[in-house]
Subunit: 525 residues, 2 copies
């Protein structure tokens, strides 16, 4: 477990999930939690059990599905309602029953919010904090408190804001995280207020949003003022302008301020982890993200090759290898020997050095074209099998395919696809219709093959992601398609890349079906 003296507290699964367009399933949340744990964060806030069924389910599954090495899970929730006992409040009960070792309670610390939003008295709000914290402590959970709107509250009524901090600390909260909920603070003023709170003898944490573009700097200013608990989100996810980017905060503190927050080996995996999480969220990764962006250490101009050779550190603020990034910029270069061997072993293959070498070369080549294998395990496994056998083998061979998209005289939009395949010595032609060209293609190929492989009836296309990879002025843009498929037991993902979106989709579809047949026990031809 992570050291308790300084907390790295991730709230991607709760506050980060407030980001527009970000919609995480329980499986997504579990996958992200595993990535965060492998980075070595101390706490993972999983959601608000009791407030929404998905989060309740997350905590239920986490007990059996999550085997965390570093992190402890935290359940987020509010202090009890006004006028009831904490022991009798069903939402407090949900926190208790979540099984999470830590509960993070959110409480109002801004006098006007207490009156206008909670519609209760300042004194009752303090009682709610006192009662809920001590109740959960008595029941055996560790309690942190998020002091919501703390900085604006401090401006409105400093004595009351500090009273909230003291009350929570006295009731047994281990940490009082001061929240810049509206995100409007600048570092100098924020640092001064944090110092005031630290003087009130509570252990202080910090929770910042990026509305002034200063979330990371505000977090650092709070640490300098005495905060020993930093909250943030993977890749800076969060509503409005996002939360403090936890990766940037950790890298800054560890590499530039000498903090020992996560294992050095884990930090060297940060770039990969940051990208793996974007594949789960399907939020386009920010290529300019500090430390982990694909462009973060890319140089375009003004450089003197000879000087770089003599001393590369003259042109970069850290050695990119410390965060698993690369001066020459391509994330594909991360696909080193070790990770390919590791992945092969995970899949149950023992690769010879020659196989590994060939596979690394092929992965690098494909990734430079826009492929990604981080989120397309099934495509990687097919590639691996082909490499080990020295040839490409499939359950079926495609003779041709055709997609027609048509706007008819009546104004109707029709999408239709025909595929011609050979399998088991037969030639099959099938046509499918869909609400779009890819949907039609999917139907056609399954219609064709189901005659020979009835198990394909169980196969389902459950997710289709498309991303246009940046080209100059859009004209040379390449399309990457990721398809997630499932049978009745598991899910797998495949990838296709081409200028033509339909061609890219076909590649991913063909692999999805092939992998589905392998899973069903059908050996390739």
């Amino acid at each position: 477990m992570a050291d308790d003296r300084f907390h790295v507290y991730d709230t991607t699964l709760r506050d980060g999930a407030q980001q527009e367009g970000l919609n995480l399933t329980v499986a997504d949340k579990l996958a992200i939690a595993r990535h965060l744990d492998s980075l070595g964060v101390g706490f993972i806030e999983g959601g608000w059990p009791g407030a929404n069924p998905k989060d309740t389910e997350f905590f239920r599954q986490a007990r059996t599905e999550l085997d965390l090495k570093h992190a402890r899970l935290a359940a987020f929730g509010a202090t009890r309602r006004a006028g009831v006992k904490a022991a009798d409040d069903p939402l407090v009960a949900a926190l208790r029953e979540s099984g999470a070792p830590v509960v993070t309670l959110v409480a109002k610390s801004h006098d006007r919010h207490v009156e206008l939003a909670l519609r209760t008295t300042l004194e009752e709000n303090l009682a709610m904090i006192r009662d809920t914290v001590s109740h959960l402590r008595a029941e055996g959970q560790r309690v942190f408190l998020d002091a919501e709107h703390f900085f604006d509250g401090y401006k409105s009524n400093p004595a009351y804001a500090l009273e909230v901090v003291r009350t929570a600390a006295e009731a047994g909260a281990d940490v009082i995280a001061l929240c810049d909920t509206n995100g409007g603070m600048l570092p100098d003023e924020l640092g001064e207020v944090v110092q005031e709170a630290v003087r009130s003898s509570a252990r202080v944490g910090i929770h910042c949003h990026d509305d002034t573009g200063c979330a990371v700097a505000n977090t650092l200013a709070a640490v300098q003022a005495g905060a020993t608990h930093v909250q943030g989100c993977a890749n800076g996810y969060g509503e409005r302008s996002g939360n403090a980017n936890l990766f940037t905060v950790v890298a800054n503190l560890q590499l530039k301020r000498g903090f020992d927050l996560v294992p050095a080996g884990a930090l060297a995996d940060m770039t990969r982890i940051a990208h793996a999480i974007t594949e789960v969220t399907n939020v386009t990764p920010n290529s300019h993200a500090p430390y982990v962006g694909t462009s973060a250490f890319a140089h375009k101009a003004g450089l003197h090759a000879s000087a770089i050779k003599v001393d590369p550190n003259l042109y970069q603020h850290i050695d990119p290898a410390e965060v698993g990034n690369d001066m020459r910029m391509l994330v594909s270069d991360m696909a080193g020997r070790a990770s390919v061997e590791l992945k092969g072993r995970e899949l149950g293959y023992e690769l010879t050095p020659d196989h590994t070498k060939a596979l690394v070369k092929e992965v690098k080549n494909l990734e430079s074209q826009g492929y990604t294998f981080e989120a397309a395990d099934a495509s990687f496994e097919l590639l691996l099998r082909d490499t080990v056998r020295g040839e490409r083998r499939r359950h079926f061979e495609v003779e041709s395919w055709r997609v027609i998209v048509e706007r008819t005289k009546g104004g109707e939009l029709v999408s239709e696809a025909t595929v011609k395949v050979h399998a088991k010595g037969e030639r099959i032609v099938a046509t499918g219709e869909g609400n779009g060209p890819v949907n039609a293609l999917d139907k056609a190929v399954r219609l064709a093959l189901e005659q020979l492989y009835p198990e394909l009836a169980k196969l389902e296309l459950v997710d289709y992601k498309v991303r246009i990879l940046e080209g100059t002025h859009g004209t040379d843009a390449v399309t990457r398609v990721l398809i997630t498929s499932s049978d009745d037991r598991a899910e797998w993902s495949t990838v296709g890349v081409a200028e033509n979106i339909i061609d890219a989709s076909w590649q991913a579809l063909e692999q999805a079906v092939t992998y589905g047949l392998l899973r069903a026990g059908r050996e390739t031809l």
Copy 2:
């Protein structure tokens, strides 16, 4: 012209253009300069004349094409080479001849860079600065100096770094901008170093990069330490993790620190300007950008409607209207009456209040579906004409179209399109082939119509941009296509939006051809 006491200095066209994937034409640069001027920045760094032909051409065209209201142009370039006189250095001559009222010279201030990259002595570097600054001053230009790698240089050899500042100031440079070229600084340390430089009695500026996620905070720390000149880029463009986002810096200083940097009316136009620039660069706008992002004031959860009604400012750090943004989040809401009237007048139409009202409603409706008219003037004009006339009129009516994308038995990828149109009482069927479905569709429609409208032979599709607008998990993603077309005299852009990329492309193509016919003097039916 902008006030000289505090400089807002934009370097989008020079340092911002170093961003990977950003490739600006001269016309793009002129368009961006106009947008920046309308925001009221004080200085626009246009590029490095003499170092590359595009930048030389920019300064040439700027003399006649740019009518700047607030900003002054700055030409960027290096101090003279070692061992020659500034007056004899052709690159210095290009700066002199650029016609720019300001020259910003970049000079080394890091001892190791002088020795390793410039390969000259520390003394000669000072002489190069002294000579170049005084030469350009004597020739009548104002001179600023970018002290490259200043902060790393200060760590390596503080006396020398400060000597560079003093030398430039004594030679007549108005401002010495301290550059955190590698972007590795954090605000506390940076502020202390800036104070040192300010004590050397030069006017100090600041130039930050975002490699630690602190570019904005570093800029603010420098201002607090006495800097009176801030450099940055529109939307935070720039190499690696980007430059300081000038919009965020200006909004922070003006709205939170009481600086009077740009006219209040211009600040209220900042969101629109930020997005208009993304349409020129075709860089996907960051929806989470502070102040100007579409999500910057969007709320998803945890809010109490009644409290918001009583006091919306409890839930936002500024009034979004101050930067032209909207609490309810849609940029479409920017399409207010005034801007539609203005745009109509620009195009030569006098709109009645009823027409304006109807048009605003239609624009908002379409923008909420993903359309954008900021960069699709031709689509806007067609919409306006339809609104004024109360009906949709075109030169041709489309009966149907069909696109076939096929992978043949031989492995060849074929894209073919057929369109059936009615025009001038005739029914025409034409088929085109292309290297992709959209290319095929473009060929087919022009082949069909050229028989009746020979002027279409001049029409050319010059740019095709496609963007997948974010949906939840990609599945409901909508595709937006922007097409730029030209005849022999001008360019115009049209937009299409649909789930199906081919349908979206068709919409934009059809409008492109219609607008081309209008331009050629063909009245619509």
